[in-house]
Symmetry: C2
Subunit: 470 residues, 2 copies
């Protein structure tokens, strides 16, 4: 327990704010790192967001950062900032479990591309975060490493698969985090935990050294307390990686410095009517209401709101195709480990893989074809508007005693199918105080546009999302 | 038979030359169109390069072009130029057989993206060209529509699958042609027939309205008598198509006007040693010798020649994976037609599809993974050199009595795996007068670089490729 209110505030500061304190000499990276380590020791037993804490490496990195800063050689805004990584992202010398029992103690021999970039930027890696087993699910009900809980409500899911990333941020246990996102796994926990998350454009951030779920749909991205923080971290993570088959050079020049726009004049935003039909289930009433309020807010900021339809897109028809792509890839990736350690996987994970194994090649080819058929639909959308605005999820966080709704990825998966950037930003609390997220999906390579729209909304809305008791 | 030597010359002029004659008023589009139609009537019985000739539509288009030109409103360098299309490319109102008996009389309801672009540019569509059944093979030994023969040698293959496109050009039966290319199907017939062909960057030219072979590897591209012609046609074909899932906006500004560079100073070209090992079969001696001579020529033009290895790339290991991708896609695309008209396909085609049907989803997932693994190898290559120079094929055209060598795509397929542009340009004749092709493979979106290198070589080498008897 930490009684110093200043220090408690520190844990909930944004990266931008902590960087200003570090730069001004008000605190050291060692102080802030120790503070987070202490908070993890105190609070993580309640939410179980970390699989591995790395106190020695983190403190050594913090000391090195402080020395650079003293010498006037700080590497930039992430230097000395404590960041935690989802446990499917390799950090050399540390286990990458991917939340799978059979991978317990599976030490990474080298850094993932993103870990290497964070280290080069001076970031302090605090530890590895809990996640849904193999990223194959969205609740983080992890039987092997323990359930991860939502800091906003006891016994509730933080979402997933990057549930540990969302929970640790919401509980003030790190300044920022990385997650991965195949159908919504960054944005769903961002929405459920009241923080911000970005799934970048496909190919913008290297996935080298990340345990795959579905090669062609996987993304790595930042999760943080503000949209400006997402932009800061994206700047560090982005860029071509010749060793990553999916890495691409951006066709656009990168933005100089991210700024939150004062106005959204000239920006055209798509609004979805009939969200119930789109999600194929009734939308939570508070989410429906806050979505309308958010659109009003965006309109007040100067944006033009346009009704769009996404004609031809049916989440419920494409979702099983995406699941087949995932389960066929899992069958390839885990073939050997499943044979060696069959009991090191949950029954449901093994069933998913077995399903993939039993399907035919043409069925998978047809699944890829169905996923590709979404691209022209998105092209029509993006000819009309600069971004699509939706709720991030059709419901808020739910109790672990409830089954995961199949519609959870109804609004998020389309960005994975077409490689578009999508930001989730808090859009308020339900009547019973659970966070809700607003999602901004922009054209591929327009990550900056998605971030700017989200940042303008965030600044206008000013939601306070700190959970009680942390 | 046509006795006028001027007119016979006309049939072998480049698009650029015919355009100059049209622009100067020396000839009309009607004259040149009639001339090609007459030559088709006379010569095509020997080579069987056309499946459908479109005299009425062609003459109407030629008349319309002549009227535009008279009125000073010609659309550009393709206005009035007679071009023929491979028969897997839709032209509204005309059958698209894809070389398959079961598709005989299958009338296209609308134009493919490329046919629409050619028409909008004023081109005269002469007809539809013979091809390997379903593009699933590289000899154009088409049992349904008749074998297509190489104008350079009786009883020999023109290559394939765009064999009709190569043969028609070599025989002077059209000014330019379109082909499609999944593992080398534009470049192999270009090489075998002594003409030029370009497989553009993946996503640069829309494949909408083209019968698929393997969705993710298919490309459409130009075939012509000169590299400058390829550039002219590419300019018309290129550009984003919101209705095509694979279409992409070029990250580079498009070139103003194509010019053949006088020097290749500053250009770094990769040379492959151990071509025999690479192709997993002994290279034809004349091809090996001419490849060396071509490299000397390129070096004299100022290019720096660098030995490269493509370490880790094994054609023979990836080829079966690509075949699985093809055959799984065929199983999806032809499922219905195979059920309706099983006898409308050759035994070998049905066996290919049956193979695809019998494979498992994880085997296909692993095949995609293997194909993607080529990308980092290409990235290493293109960090060293601006383009890779190889022979287009390990052997020249062969008799239909010989089996198709499995190594035919040894040098071409890599460009399909990584989406890179690749040009085949004539590099001389074997001792017994069969054409050979030189292939230039450049970085994705560097189509202009590939064309410039090929054009510089073409201008320096000045190979005469007209077959006897046409």
């Amino acid at each position: 327990m930490n009684a110093d209110p200043h220090k408690n505030d520190l844990a909930f500061q944004t990266v931008t704010e902590i960087d200003a304190l570090l730069a001004g000499g008000a605190i050291t990276s060692r102080t802030v790192t120790e503070h987070y380590l202490q908070r993890i020791a105190t609070h993580d037993r309640k939410i179980n967001s970390f699989i591995t804490v790395m106190p020695n490496q983190a403190l050594a990195a913090a000391n090195a950062s402080d020395q650079r800063r003293k010498a006037g050689r700080a590497h930039g805004p992430l230097d000395g900032i404590p960041i935690a990584l989802k446990d499917n992202i390799d950090v050399a010398g540390v286990a990458t479990t991917a939340g799978i029992e059979a991978r317990r103690g599976h030490i990474a021999s080298s850094d993932s591309a993103v870990a290497a970039k964070l280290k080069a930027a001076g970031a302090v890696i605090l530890g590895k975060l809990n996640m849904h087993e193999g990223a194959h699910g969205a609740t983080t009900a992890n039987e092997a490493y323990g359930y991860c809980y939502n800091p906003h409500r006891e016994g509730y899911t933080p979402g997933g698969s990057s549930g540990g990333s969302g929970a640790a941020l919401a509980a003030g246990l790190c300044a920022a985090a990385l997650g991965t996102d195949t159908l919504g796994s960054i944005r769903i926990p961002a929405s459920f935990c009241g923080i911000a998350g970005l799934k970048p454009t496909h190919g913008l951030v290297s996935t080298r050294g990340v345990v795959p779920l579905a090669w062609s749909l996987d993304h790595v991205g930042p999760m943080a307390r503000s949209v400006a923080d997402l932009a800061l971290i994206l700047e560090v993570l982005a860029g071509p990686d010749t060793a990553d088959p999916f890495s691409r050079s951006s066709p656009k020049p990168s933005a100089a410095v991210f700024t939150t726009p004062k106005s959204l004049r000239g920006v055209r935003l798509g609004r979805l009517r009939d969200l119930d039909t789109f999600a194929a289930s009734p939308l939570h009433a508070d989410i429906a209401a806050c979505y309308e309020a958010a659109l009003t807010q965006l309109s007040k900021l100067g944006a033009t709101i346009v009704d769009v339809k996404l004609a031809g897109y049916q989440h419920n028809q494409i979702r099983p195709k995406a699941m087949l792509v995932i389960e066929a890839d899992l069958a390839v990736y885990y073939a050997k480990l499943l044979e060696e350690k069959p009991t090191g996987f949950s029954q449901i994970f093994r069933e998913g893989v077995a399903f993939g194994q039993q399907q035919s090649a043409p069925k998978l080819a047809a699944a890829f074809e169905a996923i590709r058929s979404v691209q022209p639909i998105a092209n029509v959308l993006f000819a009309e508007v600069d971004a699509l605005v939706t709720p991030t999820t059709p419901c808020p966080a739910f109790s672990f005693q409830q089954a995961m709704p199949k519609t959870l990825t109804a609004f998020t998966a389309i960005a994975n199918y077409v490689g578009a950037p999508a930001v989730s930003v808090p859009m308020g609390l339900t009547k019973d105080n659970l966070p809700m997220g607003l999602q901004i999906t922009a054209r591929p390579w327009d990550d900056l546009t998605a971030l700017q729209i989200a940042a303008a909304y965030e600044q206008a809305a000013r939601w306070a999302m700190k959970p009680a008791g942390f």
